[in-house]
């Protein structure tokens, strides 16, 4: 029992790292861009995304703003997936797997992204 907790922490950190990498790639940012925005070395961003470095809570909040994702989504506490009962989900049934995935990912992104103008403002902070 005592060994379960560290294993669980490690898997959660790895899942967080993967979500951070996926979120960054989805908005088309390079690790250099993120490093500049957070004022940390690029190697630190790389370490965060490979699960070798823990993310400070303040960094996580800033990453969430940068990637237009709620912190809860980055932490895996909030799915964000499009509900299967929604008309959009049903409408994607006729699409190819690739198109369905792209549409649902975009809908998921939009749900938590706020307005694009706000994104630009935060990037220039």
């Amino acid at each position: 029992m005592s060994t379960d907790a560290p294993e669980s922490d490690a898997s959660e950190e790895m899942a967080l790292a993967q979500r951070l990498r996926g979120a960054r790639e989805y908005v088309g940012l390079l690790q250099e861009d993120v490093a500049a925005a957070l004022d940390i070395p690029r190697a630190s961003v790389s370490a965060i995304e490979s699960g070798k470095r823990r993310v400070a809570s303040l960094e996580l909040r800033r990453l969430g703003r940068l990637y237009r994702r709620p912190v809860a989504w980055l932490l895996g506490e909030e799915g964000g997936e499009v509900d299967m009962d929604t008309p959009l989900y049903r409408a994607t049934a006729a699409l190819s797997d690739q198109d369905k995935e792209q549409v649902l990912r975009f809908a998921e992104f939009l749900a938590g992204a706020g307005r694009p103008g706000a994104a630009r403002a935060e990037r220039t902070e």
């Binding site: 959009l88 699409l95 690739q98 198109d99 549409v103 975009f106 992104f109 939009l110 706020g114 694009p116």
Partner: protein
């Protein structure tokens, strides 16, 4: 209840109003991608294999465009999705395939979005501005205008500009060119047609301005006399030309028929070019030497 024609006019005027509201300079090419973002919508480009684009109302709303098509198609798709956003009140998602955006469709929602897109990308001040600069007076030149300004959908605008009957030019709804005889179409509304005779030539090339059409070649007579030797692929919707090389194997006159069809669906030909190739037999080498 408003008629279909009235609803199409309303869609076109909605595009005009949007350009005015957004402060877009209508004498220049419309930056439709910038317009999307200025309206507070997200704009994303990702590879899609069946869809050309989508409008999704989640959150602030966003437009998704395929990366797999040329810029004019992407621009027209973005304008089409803006049409859904504007005309549907931004409430309903739209997942649009090629037939929804570019082809013939019986779905009025898509037809209205097509009309909206044409009016958005080809506002009359832009058309008149360029036509006056180019001193363009023909329909062919105005169709070039559509491709030159990043919209391959110039049909509706050229129709209104030159007051042409609907059947005289290729239209976004794909319903044109069905039953009108060419002699019934005013001269200024006719598509460029090149009945050309090429005497004493063995190899003939014709260059065709391309927009959203495919051309298919067929010889109406003596099929064996013609060899189709070259057919370069071009990106649909992109500015460019398509080159056909035709090698005539036998002397004599051959009528060639070049048929342009919409690549979306199996509608009647959009246009036909008839070429008469006349080839004279060369005298044998020995007789030329004797002269």
């Amino acid at each position: 209840m408003a008629s279909g024609h009235t609803r199409r006019l309303t869609a076109a005027s909605s595009a005009s109003r949007l350009l005015i509201e957004a402060g877009v300079d209508q004498t220049r090419q419309v930056d439709v991608f910038g317009l999307v973002e200025s309206l507070g919508l997200w704009l994303a480009f990702f590879p899609l294999d069946g869809l050309l684009g989508a409008y999704l109302p989640e959150g602030a709303g966003g437009i998704l465009i395929t990366t797999e098509r040329s810029t004019p198609i992407q621009r027209y798709t973005a304008a089409h999705e803006l049409g859904h956003w504007r005309l549907d009140g931004g409430h309903d998602a739209a997942l649009d395939t090629e037939s929804d955006v570019l082809g013939r469709t019986d779905i009025e929602r898509e037809t209205l979005a097509q009309v909206f897109a044409g009016a958005l990308l080809m506002p009359p001040p832009l058309v008149h501005s360029i036509l006056s600069r180019r001193n363009a007076t023909s329909l062919g030149q105005s169709i070039w205008l559509g491709t030159a300004n990043g919209s391959s959908m110039s049909g509706p605008m050229t129709r209104s500009l030159f007051r042409c009957p609907k059947t005289a030019v290729p239209a976004t709804d794909g319903r044109s060119q069905t039953s009108v005889r060419v002699q019934d179409v005013p001269r200024h509304c006719r598509l460029p047609r090149s009945p050309t005779t090429y005497p004493q030539t063995r190899r003939t090339r014709r260059w065709l301005n391309q927009s959203r059409r495919l051309a298919r070649l067929g010889a109406s007579e003596s099929r064996d006399a013609v060899q189709h030797v070259r057919n370069e692929k071009i990106v649909a919707g992109a500015m460019g030309r398509r080159v056909f090389g035709i090698q005539l194997r036998e002397p004599g006159k051959t009528q060639l028929r070049l048929v342009l069809r919409n690549e979306y669906g199996d509608a009647d030909p959009v246009d036909e070019y008839r070429i008469t190739a006349a080839v004279e037999a060369r005298p044998p080498e020995s007789s030329r030497t004797r002269r």
